[in-house]
Symmetry: C2
Subunit: 223 residues, 2 copies
């Protein structure tokens, strides 16, 4: 179990004695599909690690619909933000999607452990800030990716409609960006990237398609 | 300036007196395009907030190529993970992309401020873990989005090739998932979602296209 805990950002930087204490303040829980772990407003003395399966966090809206806030998968924790913010009640409902194994960790015990060692807090914060940076990057990459697919497809469609390798963009860049659901600066970065890869040549508002095959295959590649 | 600091996760939960101390330990820096802030191996006594412009963090590979590690934009911090991990030297080079305004904050001073208040650490960790959850969600959403576009396009292409609304999937789901660069479980979730939206009907390995126009328009919508 210690090995599994070390992959979780909250525990990754704890030493062996600290991990032992975490185990002492934890207990395993198994839920069947649909079983509720807690309801909105329940007292919140614990946070959780999903060991297998998936937990659905949701709220019920005014008109009675269930709004899914988050799906938490294996290896991820939930309710630890409440613990840090010392919020006393769960603001959402948690229920199992499929069979689900959890570890429930006593929040007060865990905070006491951290209170005794500000250096552990710093290590954890270092790890969290690295993760944040990686995710900002990943989001940027994914945004670029789906934007690149849309732009490549758009340029291919215009190329096929024109029947010419070189043509003027069908609308001003700002308009195209909005139509293709990317920010104007992302639109420019993507055009530059397609040019860097030798797929197109851009001069002001004119485009020359240098490699129609690769450009038009781009959107299926998922690169 | 205090107002700007409050939007940064590292400072969002500090009280007014603490923010005042952060200002005392900070100084403004302006860089011109291409100007280097620090090189790999330079001593690392400060971390930074980008106030405007963009900073490029990079390493030089063995063959002399520059590998961009991260682009840091306005409102984001960098090198704070080093501070928390108490790493003494910058492992990357930082240079301005375009004109760039920074705030340089003394790392030791900031850690001392936090050392004096483990409750500030907890508030910051609460904020960081909320941000991590939101980003996991955003990454999931973006992955689903580009996956949905690819799958919708694939189904449209097969529909046009078959000339029939109902047909067997061209390959087993696992093979299609891999070909469309999505995980098998994401592939299933996306098919369910397209079915929930009334675009297709799925029975085992057979697909019926219920709404070809919306399905084939899906990939351009960016929804």
């Amino acid at each position: 179990m210690k090995e599994q805990l070390k992959h979780v950002y909250l525990f990754a930087n704890l030493d062996d004695a600290q991990l032992g204490r975490v185990q002492e303040m934890s207990r395993g829980i198994t839920l069947d599909d649909g079983q509720v772990l807690f309801e909105v407003g329940d007292e919140a003395p614990r946070f959780f690690l999903v060991r297998s399966g998936q937990i659905k966090l949701s709220r019920i809206s005014f008109n009675g619909d269930e709004k899914v806030i988050e799906l938490v998968g294996a290896g991820q924790t939930f309710a630890e933000a409440l613990m840090f913010a010392q919020i006393p009640a769960y603001p959402v409902r948690a229920a199992a999607l499929g069979r689900c194994e959890l570890l429930a960790i006593n929040s007060k015990g865990f905070l006491d452990l951290l209170r005794g060692s500000v250096e552990s807090c710093f290590r954890m914060m270092g790890d969290m800030s690295l993760r944040l940076h990686k995710m900002v990057d990943e989001i940027d990459r994914l945004t670029m990716q789906s934007g690149t697919e849309r732009i490549a497809r758009f340029l291919c469609a215009q190329y096929h409609a024109e029947g010419e390798r070189e043509f003027a963009l069908a609308a001003p860049k700002g308009v195209l960006a909005s139509r293709l659901s990317v920010k104007p600066e992302t639109f420019s970065r993507i055009l530059h990237r397609l040019a860097d890869e030798g797929l197109v040549k851009i001069r002001a508002s004119r485009v020359e398609i240098l490699d129609p095959e690769r450009l038009c295959g781009y959107s299926m590649s998922g690169f």
